[in-house]
């Protein structure tokens, strides 16, 4: 019958479009890499690759947490402050052993996440407001813990602590390895565990999910704890790289994380989400910085960091417009 054919046709087109929007970012990333490789000497060097990964791993980690939060239809504005706070915690704990510091930083982040999740899930306060409040609160705590000094020095005799941010494992920077492991686990969690699937379901319809017997509160709590813990891990890396806990670092990082998720094709309204696209999105945004640095290095033009921000903003807008066009076509067909 005709209508059956039409339906199959439509399904095929829809799938093609979603594949396109998924791989579109990947294609952009590859194009940018090829462009950089052809234009700049030293771009493809192991050194550039490793510093790039070392720095951007932190953004990757918080973007991963943000991806899960956004999937449920929420948002976590507190991650930037949490990174700063955890970096201070890590620095303070560094004299007591590297793993104590690791645990402390992750736990501190997770606690903020727990608070976020509890307020959002149990008290029913909007995520935007809740995490805006904890954004302010965590920043204040970071400054308090650092006793208002510029930063808290790390115990440099603790070589393992330094290794977390600056070391290598199998010729890869340790933060990069942490990020990759986190993303692999995240992808499995999203694809194959009830936690991931239910987070998606809640974002797609909270009332329906509740009526179908999902424990909505617990899942929500879970995604905010995850986001906080990952921000805590990023804080540890930051402290290790800077050799100090920096209460004033991480300003606006939450926005970069949101941008990565959106560029990766996840809708802010929730219900959809891809871990790998988020990784690609985070790397893409990082790469734009990297390329601009190289361009400045060539000395033909000289762009201030402010311009870089403008360019990243423009790029974000471009991606979002393209996405909504694709989505509209999907709706039409």
């Amino acid at each position: 019958m005709l209508s059956t054919n039409a339906k199959a046709d439509r399904a095929k087109r829809t799938r093609l479009l979603s594949t396109l929007s998924q791989y579109g970012v990947l294609a952009a990333l590859i194009l940018l890499i090829v462009f950089g490789a052809l234009r700049y000497t030293g771009f493809m060097s192991e050194y550039n690759f490793s510093t790039f990964l070392r720095y951007n791993a932190m953004f990757g980690l918080i973007s991963l947490g943000m991806c899960f939060v956004i999937m449920t239809g929420g948002i976590d504005l507190s991650v930037g402050s949490v990174v700063a706070m955890s970096s201070v915690v890590a620095a303070l704990l560094s004299p007591y052993g590297a793993f104590t510091a690791l645990l402390g930083a992750v736990l501190a982040g997770a606690l903020v996440g727990l608070l976020n999740g509890w307020i959002i899930a149990r008290l029913g306060i909007q995520p935007f407001i809740t995490t805006l409040a904890t954004l302010l609160g965590a920043r204040g705590l970071a400054l308090l813990l650092a006793r208002n000094q510029g930063g808290v020095g790390v115990d440099t005799s603790n070589t393992v602590f330094t290794w977390f941010g600056q070391g290598d494992l199998l010729r890869l920077p340790v933060p990069g390895v942490m990020m990759i492991v986190a993303f692999v686990l995240g992808a499995v969690a999203l694809r194959a565990t009830p936690f991931g699937r239910h987070a998606l379901a809640i974002g797609g319809g909270e009332d329906a999910s509740k009526l179908m017997g999902l424990n909505v509160g617990r899942i929500k709590l879970g995604v905010y704890v995850l986001s906080g813990a990952l921000a805590g891990l990023a804080g540890l890396i930051l402290a290790s790289q800077l050799g100090a806990g920096q209460p004033t670092e991480g300003l606006g990082w939450e926005l970069s994380a949101i941008a990565s998720v959106v560029v990766g094709g996840t809708l802010l309204t929730g219900g959809t989400g891809s871990v790998w696209s988020t990784l690609v999105g985070a790397m893409l945004l990082g790469l734009i910085f990297n390329i601009l640095n190289f361009e400045n290095g060539k000395g033909i033009i000289s762009l201030s960091p402010y311009w870089q921000s403008v360019i990243r903003g423009g790029f974000l807008l471009l991606v979002v417009v393209l996405q909504s066009r694709l989505a509209r076509q999907k709706g039409r067909s």
Binding site: L2, A6, A11, G203, G204, G213, L214
Partner: protein, 528 residues
């Protein structure tokens, strides 16, 4: 009153579910007042009542979606107090809720298994889950790709998926709150098969529907609710249709002859043409659809599911652009770029999917009702509150919309009452042409007759109506002309005496195998 007054006969077996003296109020509005419901093991129990009588609330109180204010619930011999739908599901109650059912963005298979996915070492077994989902649906006579998002399928398919979910939960009680509202005859028959199967396994079923025939076809016993109270409980066969409706409405029925509320006036032969649509083509769904509506005429648009009725309505209203074809309105060729163009020209469109395209859940009844009207109600951007209140009051009264006050958020209204608000929204616009897509779906018998009467009256005053309906009585008794679509093409135009059940069915089923022929539906209306 003619209804039996003797004590209801005792149910055949021991009670599986016994709800007594249930109380529930929402912010001062009493939704349930000393309501009771008893369901025996292995019986199919009908729950019926007007829109807003409290049926869905009763169900949600049982499954823990709402906390009850008072009363007791006994299930399988134990007093129970389910804290959440999850707890009720674990306790052996599977529910298809009326309003929100599933998650459209997730796949069909996920929707069936959400919350109880087959797992191994904590990981979801996708192949097993997909295969099992496909098997469950095949049993219901549906073949589709279970890996597609649920939202890409029709409402009917979605209802069947909800059914598959409920059946696959090994429950002792399956609750279905208006599961048939979007189903066609054949799917309803499948559903009945499922219900009989459940019954044979000793599972009890609570079945809510506004279609009386369905109740008589499958139910053993019935509970009638009115204004939050249980007013009748007894054997299904022990109560006639007329008695049933009288119990529901709480008053005697006088006009029991006609099946619908329509008072058909003979359309004047020379009705001025209002809308002319010729040879509309759009994608694969519309392949040359035509229809004409004159001033003061009610024209029916008939066809099977997927025949392109709703698609044609969307094109006329400017929500979709046609690839080819011509549109005339009031004698002028027109092309509406968007619905707002169409509204300006004097069209109204009450869509079938009230959830997605109609109501704004957080806004009040007042705001929802006057949403499309606001530009006309305001001067320099300020809304004339008095006039707004007047209009709202008028329609709340004339359609019998059950609401505690006009400022109540519309999501708090019962399903049928939300539908009425939508209809009122377009009627308030005073349009020249009104397109109605299944205007009486999910509406109780009393209000249905009211709405049908209203449509007839408005037509008499000159309004042109294009009415999509799957209920043949509505088409036969309400329309001066009926246009029949098949696979996106206009295949018949019936007028006057040609509009009969046989003719309609014949035209609708063109090109179908005999087994695909829908059986003539039995009239859903009052007949003693």
């Amino acid at each position: 009153m003619t209804a039996p007054t003797s004590a209801p006969p005792a149910p055949s077996g021991p009670l599986l579910l016994d709800m007594q003296h249930i109380q529930k109020a929402f912010a001062g509005v009493t939704a349930l007042d000393n309501a009771s419901l008893g369901v025996a093991a292995g019986e199919v129990h009908a729950l019926i009542g007007q829109n807003g009588a409290g049926k869905s609330t009763m169900i949600k109180v049982l499954t823990g979606a709402y906390r009850r204010d008072g009363g007791s619930i006994t299930f399988a011999g134990q007093p129970v107090d389910f804290a959440s739908p999850l707890a009720a599901q674990r306790g052996g109650i599977a529910t298809i809720y009326q309003e929100v059912n599933l998650v459209p963005l997730r796949t069909v298979a996920e929707n069936i298994f959400l919350g109880r996915e087959p797992r191994k070492w904590g990981l979801i077994q996708w192949p097993a889950m997909n295969a099992e989902a496909a098997r469950l649906l095949t049993e219901l006579g549906i073949q589709l790709d279970v890996k597609e998002p649920l939202g890409s399928f029709s409402t009917a398919i979605q209802q069947m998926v909800a059914l598959a979910r409920a059946v696959s939960i090994n429950a002792r009680l399956v609750i279905m709150d208006e599961p048939t509202s979007s189903l066609n005859e054949r799917e309803v028959e499948t559903l009945f098969g499922v219900i009989r199967g459940l019954k044979a396994r000793g599972v009890s079923v609570i079945f809510v529907s506004h279609r009386l025939d369905e109740l008589y076809a499958v139910c053993d016993r019935i509970t009638v609710m009115r204004d939050g109270r249980t007013v009748y409980a007894g054997d299904m066969q022990g109560i006639s249709r007329l008695q049933l409706v009288e119990q529901m409405l709480g008053r005697e029925i006088k006009n029991a002859g006609a099946q619908t509320g329509f008072v058909k006036h003979k359309g004047s032969a020379g009705a001025k043409p209002l809308l002319g649509v010729g040879g509309v083509v759009r994608g694969t769904r519309l392949q040359g659809a035509s229809v004409e509506v004159g001033e003061g005429e009610v024209v029916g648009l008939a066809g099977l599911l997927g025949s392109g009725r709703s698609e044609l309505a969307r094109v006329i209203f400017g929500a979709d652009q046609p690839d080819a074809g011509e549109l005339r309105f009031g004698g002028q060729p027109v092309q509406f770029r968007s619905p707002s163009d169409a509204i300006k020209a004097g069209l109204g469109f009450c869509s079938e999917d009230r959830k997605a395209e109609g109501i704004v859940p957080e806004l009040s009844v007042r705001e929802n009702l006057t949403l499309a009207l606001l530009p006309r109600l305001s001067r320099a951007g300020v809304v004339d509150n008095r006039q707004q209140a007047e209009i709202v009051e008028r329609f709340v009264a004339s359609l019998g919309i059950k609401t505690s006050n006009p400022d109540q958020p519309i999501r708090e209204l019962s399903g049928g009452n939300q539908q009425k608000v939508l209809l009122a929204r377009w009627l308030a616009m005073n349009p020249k042409l009104l397109i109605l897509d299944e205007p009486t779906r999910g509406i109780d018998v009393g209000a249905k007759a009211e709405i049908q009467r209203l449509i007839g009256e408005l037509a008499q005053e000159g309004l042109g109506v294009l009415m999509i309906s799957s209920e043949l009585e509505e088409l036969i008794e309400g329309c001066q002309h009926v246009t029949v679509l098949h696979d996106g093409k206009t295949v018949a135009n019936l007028a006057g005496d040609e509009i009969s059940e046989a003719q309609l069915l014949h035209a609708m089923a063109q090109g179908l195998e005999p087994e695909d022929m829908p059986r003539p539906p039995t009239p859903p209306q009052v007949r003693a």
